[in-house]
Symmetry: D2
Subunit: 435 residues, 4 copies
């Protein structure tokens, strides 16, 4: 059986701030900050995103995000290794072992990003596949590429040595102590619009390799949008999958996430977490050549966090943690909101129209109830919800006395089961109902 | 709140045998048969399908299924009435009241089919809308038609009198004693491929009218395929919705239903039943001009029934009941299989590949477990399932001692949690697991 | 054989200024203006556009452009007649006869707009078809409607009486003296995106009816975009067909017309004129409730006219002619430019890129050569063309001494076969080459 | 200016018989046969198709048509060279020079196939680009591949060295004496369905390189279907372009070619020849592992040849010439039919319906007239055409006395301008009209 993690993962990811360039010291600094300030609120994963195996990443940033035909750290079996320049502790073939060990010592978990497939360079060099009788050229499919990253070829279906290749990299990661694998170019292989789920067999091979490795590892699939017709397959083989393309601090993208959450709300359960992508809060964009604060207003930040929570998405912070301002830090410490990531909570859209959305969530075990209100308009608006109409609450409705808004800690008394509030433009409010 | 029926409806529908031509006597005969032979196994709805208001339906069958610009029985408010020729008890403005009363007297429930919208003839005649200050011409949208039936225009959104029109027809049906409304050309308005959910507002008006009527009525939407992106809206406003286009006794359509069930498996819950359409069993097709036996083999019949049951679809018999052969009748009396229509059962696809499918179902309340095996191939095949791998059973796995196949009543002992069987071409087997 | 008119038609159309509301007096005034001021430059058609048969058109303009279920003037055979209120000379069943006669007396030609199909009201009333044994209900297809106008049903294919219906209306128009028929909802039946050429049989019936009528009539098809895969069919059965949806005074639409002309440039020949739609110049929009001057700058007007001319489109003025300012009038008197509408000229795109387009045209018979330069940018730009590179001119290249710009009458000498000019933003220049 | 060849090219191509495996001796044998038997009827090009640079092509035929990561003959500038094993005369860096010379000595012309782009191996090896300051890695686009052949990467747009690369290969081909270049994966880059004309800039670079080379070379683009919206661009930069995907001896493909010819009929002129692909006649398929005779019946062969001729397609024989039977050879000697490849002839579809097609052609200079009749049905059929209705002939119609069918040499007298004949299933008849 695949890893059946009981809550949506919460953590930090290097991409939004560092792009392809993050190094060991920076990862450690963020992990230390998390251990000291955020672990208590539920945050635990530290994820090194794309290009940790690349030499001189970012050095041609004005031309390419990913340098074509550039240098990659690779062992004799075509398995990528951390760039020793940036990750000195990986010297001597130790890979991410020492870094993982350090992160574990902080009481946290360690994750890495990988690209689907096998390095193109391994195929061109006909390198042997570890544990098999074939070479990379035999299992690499020269017609299966990523549309935006030049490093890999997809692995063929049903050929000898293919599963062995995936086993060989995953067992290496297991040896390193990896707890979380974010695999890219696999959830939606969007270069192939007529066959965007062309890597289904690679998802299956990855999950099989994880189970064979004997180590519990969360399997996270990117990029989105995930394909709703394949929901059952993601649910069977993965733990999280991206429901949109890359998310950034832009209202249009945030507004669009409501449509995606609407679509995926019935596909979340223990071990299965549709993923709204990283939270672009705080300081962002340094690796992209333009460090800046998030463009989201305070209201939009609450709107985003309220949606991610009530929908039950994984939560991955995009900010450089060591530069968090106190207001953002305070948002991220709101344990009462983040409890909604537990699989016992089921979020449901109650209403969505041109002006607003309303969601409910109920804990199947404890009966706890939450309501979130969202204002889509660029103007303030009164939004209200008759709680007796909410399907989740109706079966055995127990009266609600008051509601606590979790970002402001405001408590409001209820008049006749009608929960209402005035919301600033693009604001979101997340209420815990108190009976 | 909408009607929260706790199990998927089971009943009989006039279409597969009678097409547009069914009459009162025939409906009564089928109801009587159901009451005597099938009620005990859970069957209860008797549904009069399309064109009950049309004069001389079927009289131009070689040219048209639906006679354009033909005669319709209609009151002064544009509300369609049963054709008195065919439904004599409706004389004197009594509508379907007497027929409903008779069906209720048998301990059964009564359903009718309607087309979305308002009669084109009512709009051309500028008939008043009951309870409103407007005429049919004000609320009818001349650009909103059905692609295959010429009777109606869609009702406009957000215009005065529109909700009143729907209230006026639904309160009439409530007065008649209708328990079930199958509304057509509304689930997927497929004439408009760029806007196949163009009647969303009419679904909302219908549900509102039902709640205003004060009578519990099941709302069933046709035709399919329902739109997966609108799952939340169907779930909020309807009780069942068709997940495919018209289903008939053809293996290609049955094979395709597995893809549709795969897609909709997570969208079923109390009050919400994705609908696989009528069961084309027994005698069929008389109204279409070619009476015949079902083209499904015995194996395909079991395959179909096993899928409908384990998925938890509504079950509507298409056969003329009074002509059922004993073998078919025996299939339809299998109460143990039809228990799976209860909302406490949750069906899930465990595997689907080119050759077979495997589904599981578990009762959330009682813990009862079922497994269904399906052979897609035109050749016999051994199919097996390791029960410990099934996600639904895994959490607190209790050993299985034997399994009873429900169509054959065969019991097989289990060897080490592996349930296997040899299936004939296109066969389905439905097992109840016994711990 | 269909009418093989030797040049693209030039005229005036009532729509851009009057929408649905034009009346006889207004038509006469425009015709008189044309005869006096424009005929000499080649303008000759006077076309009454949509809804001449409707009662009180425009009276519900804020709700509907076309009043649903409104009053239509119709004879006993379902043939629409001019609204007597607006066209008094049509009284006594004389139709457009007197108006056509008047226009002919001015040395001009007369055109009318029709909608594809037969009035819905004729079908509902089962009116007889003139010259056939059937009624409108037998030939009307209730599933074939226009997406934006509620008046008609399409006529069925291959049914008795269908051709007779089209014969009956066209012979009526021939009797009236109609020279030009603009049929709408037929070139692209865009309500049916999977079958946008669903009225192909009606185009054929129309052309057959015209030939049977014995009167030469130009057949013009709307709306666009015409379907390039059906080019051969338009060419066989029609004289002009719209290559875009409605064109208005908006740069984005004008820019887009270059893409459409590029596509259709090889499909123009004697009797066949792909149509860029009316010229929204001068005073516009009164019938739409907002009379105004064209929003096109002087440069954009020259750009438009240069493209229509060098491509060889029909030219239909949208302005209210009696209100033309002198500058616009002077543009419209440029006979030297309008000679390019002759079928002996063949226009060809030489270059198109993000910033500009260059077209050439050559008269197959006289060898006359033209070049047009177009600036797509919102900034001035130098654009030039090496004439020896132009395919049309290459075969037997004769040196060019100078070029005359036709809107400004400026003459420029040529340096070494390079024709260049500085163009203002969105400007177009049309040069006649002088050898 | 590009090569303005005055008739559609006629020749032989190695692919249909040899797949990837053709060698020098085989090319010479076919050339010799052509010179002796076919040159007189107009055949002149000898084209070596795909993979002449590959080592051991065909050696893994059951797995791959094109061996991934296999050996390629390549110079130090990434320019592919003939495989010396198969083309011994290329030894010592002489490339195809000696073979071209031999073919020229027979009075024929020599053509080669190339894949768009630059070898992937050249990019991985960072080989220098001849005549530029960059390496293959700088101009290769790792996201631009062919979907079915693993050899190349597309060349980037607007980067330094890109044009130089194309100049470097084309000047090499010019040195060799190449007369005809068939470039593949360029006419429709169908791996990219949202951008199937993604190699437009490579077409432009190729044409520019040809003009810079100073040698007249025909530029032929594959594979189809060509994009009708880009017709102007093919016409400007290429001499022929494939209007369908690969054509083989299958009636469904032949029937489909009528739809494609219908679409492209107006886009043919001197120097511009839409291309129906090779003629799969005679012996075929040896390199594919299954040598066989064409599956086309004699009637289908005449149907195909009649269509290719009256449409005016290039004609490329797919058969192994040395194995031609006498009947096929006789078809291929029909000079009177092949005259229609001249650009002065313009073919036009007169009619196409479910059962048949009728085409006309007229020579703009001589006035010669042809008619072709085609029977789509699997049964014999009488097909006739009223010659006075044919638009091309109408302008100055001169009476027709008789018609000669060109494949049978039968002459039939004409009754009243009606040309008719009885056609066997799938037959085609090509008539020369005699006045």
């Amino acid at each position: 059986m695949k890893c059946s993690i009981s809550h949506a993962p919460m953590g930090w990811n290097s991409y939004d701030y560092y792009d392809t360039t993050v190094n060991e010291q920076q990862v450690r600094a963020n992990a230390e900050f998390m251990a000291e300030h955020l672990k208590e609120a539920g945050w635990e994963y530290v994820v090194v995103d794309i290009q940790w195996y690349a030499k001189n990443p970012g050095s041609m940033r004005e031309q390419y995000q990913y340098i074509p035909f550039g240098g990659l750290e690779m062992d004799g079996f075509g398995r990528l290794q951390p760039d020793v320049e940036r990750f000195p502790s990986s010297a001597g073939g130790r890979g991410f072992g020492p870094l993982a060990e350090y992160i574990h010592s902080l009481g946290l978990r360690f994750g890495i990003h990988i690209m689907r497939g096998i390095p193109r360079q391994a195929a061109e060099k006909h390198l042997p596949v570890w544990g098999a009788d074939v070479t990379a050229a035999d299992i690499a499919d020269p017609s299966s590429i990523c549309g935006w990253n030049p490093d890999m070829y997809g692995v063929r279906k049903n050929v000898s040595g293919a599963q062995e290749y995936y086993d060989s990299i995953i067992s290496l990661y297991a040896d390193w102590g990896v707890d979380f694998i974010k695999c890219d170019d696999i959830c939606n292989t969007n270069l192939y619009p007529h066959n965007p789920y062309s890597a289904a067999h690679e998802i299956e091979m990855l999950q099989r390799a994880i189970q064979r490795s004997g180590r519990e590892m969360v399997l996270s699939l990117s990029p989105g949008p995930a394909l709703i017709e394949k929901a059952w397959h993601y649910q069977k083989y993965a733990n999280m999958w991206r429901i949109t393309d890359d998310f950034w601090d832009d209202w249009a993208l945030l507004r669009n996430m409501f449509d995606r959450c609407e679509l995926w709300q019935d596909h979340r359960r223990a071990g299965c977490y549709p993923d709204c992508d990283m939270l672009p809060l705080g300081r962002l964009g340094k690796g992209f050549g333009a460090e800046r604060n998030t463009r989201f207003s305070k209201e939009e930040q609450r709107c985003m966090l309220s949606l991610w929570c009530i929908f039950g998405s994984p939560l991955m912070i995009g900010a450089e943690l060591t530069k968090l301002d106190s207001e953002t830090l305070s948002l991220l410490k709101n344990q009462e909101a983040f409890r909604l990531t537990h699989s016992a909570f089921q979020g449901r859209q109650f209403e969505k129209n041109d002006g607003c959305a309303i969601w409910s969530s109920k804990n199947r075990e404890t009966g706890e109830r939450y309501i979130a209100l969202f204002n889509f308009l660029p103007a303030p608006q009164e939004i209200s919800c008759l709680l007796t109409e909410v399907e989740q609450f109706a079966e055995d409705f127990t009266p609600v006395l008051k509601a606590k808004e979790l970002w402001t800690q405001e408590e409001i008394p209820l008049q006749g089961e009608l929960l209402g509030a005035r919301l600033a433009p693009h604001d979101g409010k997340l209420f815990k109902l108190i009976g």
